[in-house]
């Protein structure tokens, strides 16, 4: 049987730039297929950060990290992989000739990268980074000498190399003979791009493709081929806590109590979706099982609102709920239902759907001066296992999407980020509980699930990582 497969994706990659591989449309094609990283986060067996191009690593007393690199690894252009390439890859990310997306994970850090020998490299980071090995799972390695500007033809150490890219039509990856690791089952992967989910599903059904990693819930009707997976996307309502009446905690509580989350499950939100208590999925370090989903209690919500009103909070001010069209499946219906539920307990809600650029204006700082009370419906993705990719941005006083400046929150975030091990987990848990129960910072809604359609000849189960990458080596063939 053929070991070539076709994969149909919703969106074509604009670039195949390794340092942009954290972006899903690029990452799904090249991440760990063409371009590899030093470490890798295992999500299937929950073993945490695993070696990839680095064989092992240790943290020295001063907090810097030493990585021992794998030997005998070759780039697809024939060059041998070594420490200099790692250093170069890092330098490239911080170059001002490009805007590498992975740079954002290293905001506020100062790096001192030292090549010790061919296969050993030291990272000295200020401030000390306890999760550096995890962060390095986001940095793809390019050979020394790769242009600093964005490239369209990535060279990497991965099991595949790019052999053809016809923009707008297809990208073809071929398995390499000289790959350092075990040879994957798939010898050739052709990526196709269709924006319409129904068409993607149809293509697998018609045999024109073998794998459609994201199809819509309504299309996922065939048990044999369609699988759901928790896709690390969390839907929530971001509250701007600076403006009355949303600056009143009773009002925010009322918002939480007014929404019948359970009613969405299996209707507008897939059956397998999970009610969220935090912006990070349960697989994340420090996720707090003790935080409970707020009950659906419209009476209580009404009562709280009345209380607030009595205390002089202007609860009658119309609140604008901003959502982005096509942000996640059924977004319009979900928002309309939420609007109805909020109105039922006495909120005045204006629903406003905007296009992505405008959404961004509402979602991120700087917020507009003189704005009214605004709630932004948004979706956040953290599949990386650590809350630090979330908490600073969403809750810190300086976070770009944060609607609060709470000293306790700031303090907890700072301490958790610097901590390691159980301490780190504990601090994150504490933060999650505080944000959810005391601050009532936002309305967490659902951890969404994605659906994929896999042809019956493939042996593949999508995972939480499927949203951002798609390792061809994980795909096998039945019989």
């Amino acid at each position: 049987a053929s070991t070539d497969i076709k994969i149909v994706l919703p969106e074509e990659a604009d670039l195949l730039e390794p340092c942009m591989a954290t972006r899903s449309n690029i990452g799904r094609v090249i991440m760990e297929n063409v371009s590899e990283t030093l470490t890798e986060l295992d999500v299937r067996t929950k073993k945490g950060v695993m070696p990839r191009l680095a064989e092992k690593w240790e943290q020295t007393a001063d907090g810097s990290w030493r990585f021992h690199l794998r030997q005998g690894v070759k780039f697809s252009d024939g060059k041998t992989f070594g420490a200099k390439d790692v250093k170069y890859s890092f330098d490239r990310i911080f170059s001002d000739k490009n805007i590498c997306e992975s740079r954002r994970y290293f905001g506020g850090m100062k790096f001192d990268v030292n090549v010790v020998d061919e296969n050993t490299i030291d990272f000295k980071v200020d401030p000390v980074q306890p999760i550096l090995p995890l962060l390095l799972s986001l940095v793809t390695i390019v050979p020394e000498g790769t242009p600093l500007e964005f490239v369209r033809e990535p060279i990497g150490t991965g099991p595949y190399k790019l052999s053809n890219w016809t923009p707008g039509q297809q990208i073809v990856l071929d398995a390499r003979d000289d790959y350092w690791g075990t040879k994957p089952a798939v010898t050739k992967a052709t990526y196709l791009f269709r924006s319409d989910p129904a068409v993607r599903a149809a293509m697998v059904q018609a045999g024109e493709a073998d794998l459609a990693p994201s199809i819509s819930q309504v299309e996922a009707t065939n048990d044999k081929t369609d699988f759901s997976y928790l896709d690390s996307e969390t839907v929530y309502l971001r509250i701007d806590g600076n403006i009355a009446p949303l600056n009143d905690v009773r009002v925010r509580k009322a918002l939480n109590l007014a929404i019948d989350r359970q009613a969405f499950i299996g209707t507008l939100v897939p059956q397998d979706a999970v009610l969220a208590t935090a912006l990070v999925p349960p697989t994340t370090l420090g996720w707090n099982p003790d935080v409970k989903v707020p009950a659906f209690d419209p009476d209580q919500a009404k009562k709280l609102l009345e209380e607030a009103k009595a205390a002089g909070v202007p609860v009658d001010t119309p609140i604008t709920v901003v959502a982005r069209t096509a942000n996640f499946p059924n977004v319009t219906e979900i928002m309309e239902a939420i609007q109805a539920q909020l109105q039922d307990v006495g909120f005045k809600i204006d629903l406003k759907f905007v296009e992505v650029a405008e959404h961004e204006v509402y979602y991120s700082k700087p917020f507009k001066e003189g704005r009214g009370p605004i709630i932004v419906a948004a979706m956040h993705d953290n599949s990386k296992g650590d809350p630090s990719f979330t908490m600073f941005f969403k809750y810190d006083s300086k976070g770009t999407q944060s609607g609060y400046s709470d000293p306790k929150v700031d303090d907890l975030i700072a301490r958790a980020s610097a901590a390691t091990g159980d301490e780190r987990a504990k601090l994150w848990s504490e933060l999650i509980a505080y944000v959810h129960d005391d601050l009532v910072a936002d309305v967490a809604l659902f951890h969404m699930v994605g659906y994929s359609r896999v042809s019956e000849r493939l042996d593949f189960k999508p995972s939480i990582a499927t949203n951002s990458m798609l390792q061809l080596s994980e795909i096998g063939f039945k019989n």
């Binding site: 129904a198 309504v218 009707t221 209707t267 219906e333 928002m335 309309e336 239902a337």
Partner: protein
């Protein structure tokens, strides 16, 4: 009649008033009659629909979502099924009529009127004026309508008025070019020259002599544009720059039902049908009008009418 025949009774009989004659001609074309009745119904619904059925149309019921149509044991308003939030489609379509017709009629009228006027001027005025107008039309024509939409709606905000504006801007060139092309030909006809000799002003020549000849074609275009505008509006909603919930239009309903096309077809089918029926009716009516207003063709309707004499 003194000239060709001795008068018979019926030729001298008082001519019926214009309204009665139009009525008779409408009666003669049963298709157009049905179309007219349907459109009157639509207009009435557009006027009173929202006040009448708004509550019914917005009542959500997540448990009854995507309810299939033709369940005649349910209440009447559920007969066409329910949408993804369990809201009955029948009342929703009726409530949506107002916005839909307002946007569509507004956009079509604005573009048709502006386009026609400019076209008349471009066909009749000096070469320079005409050149300016025509190149402007070229510019609009090659300006992607979506970009216009993004720009206008981003800068001015999305509202029914602005949407109407956007959609009408993009449709101006058809009317403009069609009108101008016809004017170029018609203005060389002898009866236009005759009007000139009588001292008719350019305005009169354009509106009284040239426009009636172009008008049927423009009406045909305009009625078809109705469908276009409604669907374009749906596409804009889909991209997040058109009308957005909780406002409703047929176009929006279609775009919302789009993802359910394969398993709950009725969500976008009924509003789609409403658009088709409206366009169909408008067009049958415009085809009828074309004949009713053309003295050379009018016999087609008069002959079929009630026997006379």
């Amino acid at each position: 009649m003194a000239i060709q025949s001795t008068p018979t009774k019926e030729t001298i009989a008082e001519e019926p008033s214009a309204l009665v004659r139009m009525g008779r001609m409408l009666w003669a074309d049963k298709f157009a009659l049905c179309a007219a009745i349907f459109l009157v119904f639509v207009i009435i619904m557009a006027i009173i629909g929202p006040t009448l059925l708004d509550d019914l149309a917005t009542k959500q019921n997540l448990r009854g979502r995507n309810l299939a149509p033709f369940m005649f044991d349910r209440e009447w308003f559920m007969w066409l099924g329910a949408d993804a939030l369990g809201r009955p489609l029948w009342p929703r379509i009726i409530v949506a009529t107002q916005n839909t017709i307002m946007v569509a009629a507004g956009a079509v009228l604005i573009s048709a009127i502006v386009g026609t006027l400019l076209g008349l001027i471009a066909g009749f005025a000096s070469e320079r004026t005409s050149q300016i107008i025509m190149r402007l039309a070229d510019v609009i024509m090659s300006f992607p309508s979506l970009l216009v939409a993004v720009i206008v709606l981003y800068i001015l905000g999305s509202s029914i008025m602005n949407l109407m504006l956007v959609l009408s801007i993009t449709r101006i060139p058809v009317y403009l070019r069609t009108t101008r092309a016809e004017v170029l030909e018609i203005k060389s006809r002898m009866f236009v020259q005759a009007a000139k000799v009588m001292g008719a002003s350019s305005k009169r020549i354009l509106f009284r002599h040239i426009l009636p000849v172009v008008l049927p074609t423009l009406t045909t275009l305009a009625t078809l544009d109705f469908a276009y505008v409604m669907l374009a509006e749906s596409a804009l909603s889909f991209l997040g720059i058109g009308i957005q919930p909780p406002e409703i239009t047929w176009g929006l309903m279609i775009s919302q039902g789009r993802q359910y096309l394969t398993n709950a077809w009725w969500l976008s089918f009924w509003p789609g049908l409403a658009i088709i029926l409206t366009t169909l009716s408008l067009n049958l009516l415009s085809n009828w009008l074309r004949i009713a207003l053309d003295p050379v063709q009018r016999w087609r309707l008069e002959m079929k009418g009630p026997k006379h004499g």
